[in-house]
Structure formats: C-alpha cells, structure tokens
Symmetry: C2
Subunit: 200 residues, 2 copies
Amino acid sequence: MTAIETAATGVPAEGTRARVERAALDLFTLRGFERVTTDEVADAAGISRRTFFRYFATKADAVWGDFAAHVARLEGLLDATAPSRPVLAAVCAAYVEVNDYAARELPLLRERMLLILTEPALLAHSQLRFAEVDRVVARYVAARSDAAPTDLVPRLVAATTRTAATTAFETWLADEHSALGGHLRQAFAELTAGFPSLSR
Amino acid sequence: MTAIETAATGVPAEGTRARVERAALDLFTLRGFERVTTDEVADAAGISRRTFFRYFATKADAVWGDFAAHVARLEGLLDATAPSRPVLAAVCAAYVEVNDYAARELPLLRERMLLILTEPALLAHSQLRFAEVDRVVARYVAARSDAAPTDLVPRLVAATTRTAATTAFETWLADEHSALGGHLRQAFAELTAGFPSLSR
DNA sequence: GAGGCTAATGACACCCGGTGCCACGCGGCA
DNA sequence: TGCCGCGTGGCACCGGGTGTCATTAGCCTC
C-alpha cells in the first residue's frame, strides 16, 4: 500500500521529512491541495497519518520547507547591515538577498509559491507564516528608528515590504522565464518611491 | 435549551442572521474564537448547527457582517472618483471614506476587527476576504493607468494600500480613544511618500 | 377551504483535519 | 539480560463543514 519502502518502526528514519514534503508537493500540485487528504500524503511517503502530524503541525505546513530558517536568514542579513545604510533600503536589500536562490532551487521554489499563492487554504495559512517575517522586520525597523515595534511606521514598513515581495512573487510566477530578483527590485523601487509610475 | 425563543420551522425568520452574528461576536470575544464551537453559537442564537452553515459558509464568516456590501461601497467610491484626481490619492481617499463610520457603529467595528486581527484562525481567513478588495482596487488602478489588473503596479498598489489600511486598524485598536481616520491618513501619507519619517 | 408549491429548518450520516492516549518495537546502555 | 528512550502506528475522539431527506409554515391557486 506504500509507494516507498516503509522503514521499520523505531528507527531514526533518516530523510523522512524531506520524503513527506516531496510527496505532499507532488500530490498537491497534481490534484490540488484540498482534494488530497493527509492520509494520501502519508501513504505516499510510507508513514502513518499520525506520524505525518508529528512532522508537520498542519497539512499546510508540509509545503513550506524550512521556513523558519528562511526567516532566520533574513534576520541575520538585517542584523549584518551597515548602520550607514538607510533603514528602508536595508530591508529591501535583505529581501532581495534572502530570495537570491541558486538556479537549481528555483523549480522547487516555484512549485511551493505557486501552491501557496493560488490555493485558497494555503494563501490563508500564509498569513500566519508571514506574520513571523513581519515581526522580525518590524523589530529591526523599530530598533533603527527609535520606535517601538508596535508603532505605526515599523509595522507599516514590515507589512508593506512583505506585501510587495509577495506581489513580486505573483508576477514572477506568471512570467515563466523571468528572474525573481528583477520583480522584487521593481516592486521595491515602486514602493519606496511612492509609485512614481502612476503619474496621473 | 435555546437562549432565545426559537422560531417555528419554515417561517422566514426575520433577523436571524443578525442574531447569529451577535451571538457569535459575543461568544468569540468572551472566550476566544477557537474555544467556541459552532454548536454553541447556533444554540445561543436558537438555531441548529446545520442552519448556521446556511447563513455562513464558515465559522469565521460570522464575524464579518456584510463585508460584500463594504467592498461594493469601496468600488462605488472608486468609480465615482473624478478622473482628474491622481490614481493613488483616489484609492487612499476611497479607503478613508469607506471607513468613515458613524460613532455608534465604532464599538461593533472595534469588536469585529479586534477578533479578525488577533485570532490566528480569523487572521488567516481574512486574507481570503481581503483578496476581494484587492481585486477591486487592482481593477480600478489598471483601468486608470492603461495596464492589466494582473500587472505589477496595479496589484502592488492594491495590496500595499490594503495592507497599510490593515496596519492602521491595528494601531487604532491599540489606542482606545483615537480616531480611525487619523491612523488611516497617517499610514497612507507614509506609504505614498515612501516613508519619509525614515530619514536614515 | 383543499391541495400543491416553495423555502427555511433540523436531524442524521459522513468526510476530513487535528489531537490525546497507549502499546509496540528498535537501538543503546548498564 | 533487562531497562529505558524514542519514533512510530492504531485507535478513539473532537470539531468544522457538507449532502440528503423529512418536516413544517406560508402562500398561491382553483
């Protein structure tokens, strides 16, 4: 009944998480997120449903890879930014850099983001993951600008830059052979200049 | 078993929807969204669980009131904007105006938004409702700027102005006796000017 | 006034995501 | 050899959401 050889119980099960992610991504892409049950994903990965939920808190989390590490990298980039650099530019540059993937990683990124941004249930769930990013950015902006992380401007910068990045991802997905960095830079340029291309 | 007199079956049941919304808001505010079951909401409103899901597609929808009408009002405001007004300013002004509530409506608005923006499940769900707003705004910006609604700038304007409005709601909620309009105007001022308060 | 249509309702069964609990089996260790 | 830790699977359960069907009230028509 299992598509992949089942490991015996009790063993560390090296690489199980990656195998489950792969199975989830494949099935979700093929048939749509809502039309695949966690049972099917678990089966395809050769584990039980119960074990699936030990690796991932929710069905949606299976498509995010190691997002916490992604957020941590962003935070590291921000912390490593020269204080001479303007705050807003620093945030945008960190976003561009943290999303500067190697060419061989792009297909996987595309697959993940296509699911996240087109499947309603995943789009909804994304708000919770993106909130982690917003908190990191707001903290950084607040620290750099003598404000509290809950003040308007830090929150605003965090939320709008993240939204701009997400929008850039959307246009990138719609344009098969374009470069993600270009979309990000263009979005940030529009945002930080107050949308100059809207002359009238 | 019902907290309110149960109407006989088959009658039009005038005002049932409003009664369910009231019960849902009360219970969610009192005990938290996730710790209240739809059974309890239905019971408190004097209807069955099944009927609850005929009024609201999901448990989360019970806190949104007539949001479709809100979106329609925003769309109407945009359509009624003078073509001489700059696009970006038109969008911001429409947001301010559509959120210009009468004083007696503010407590209800506060209650709704506090739930939506602090309860994780509702925050996630909000992305789906806000997407309706984004589509309307992106269509308007696209029409005014000779672009497709799926192009970067229309999407970007829609997503970032809506995000700015949401952030303004958050700071408004945190400040008990402030005016929502002020928060919105300040957020839009920062956004459209490229965050001038971040001098360094 | 009887009968038929429509629409709202409630009861029931079912699916599926998610969780608590427990028992099993493997490897490591004394 | 016996114990322990831990990853695992099975099972029962909860709660959101849906399909189906019978019931009932209002209304319309003859």
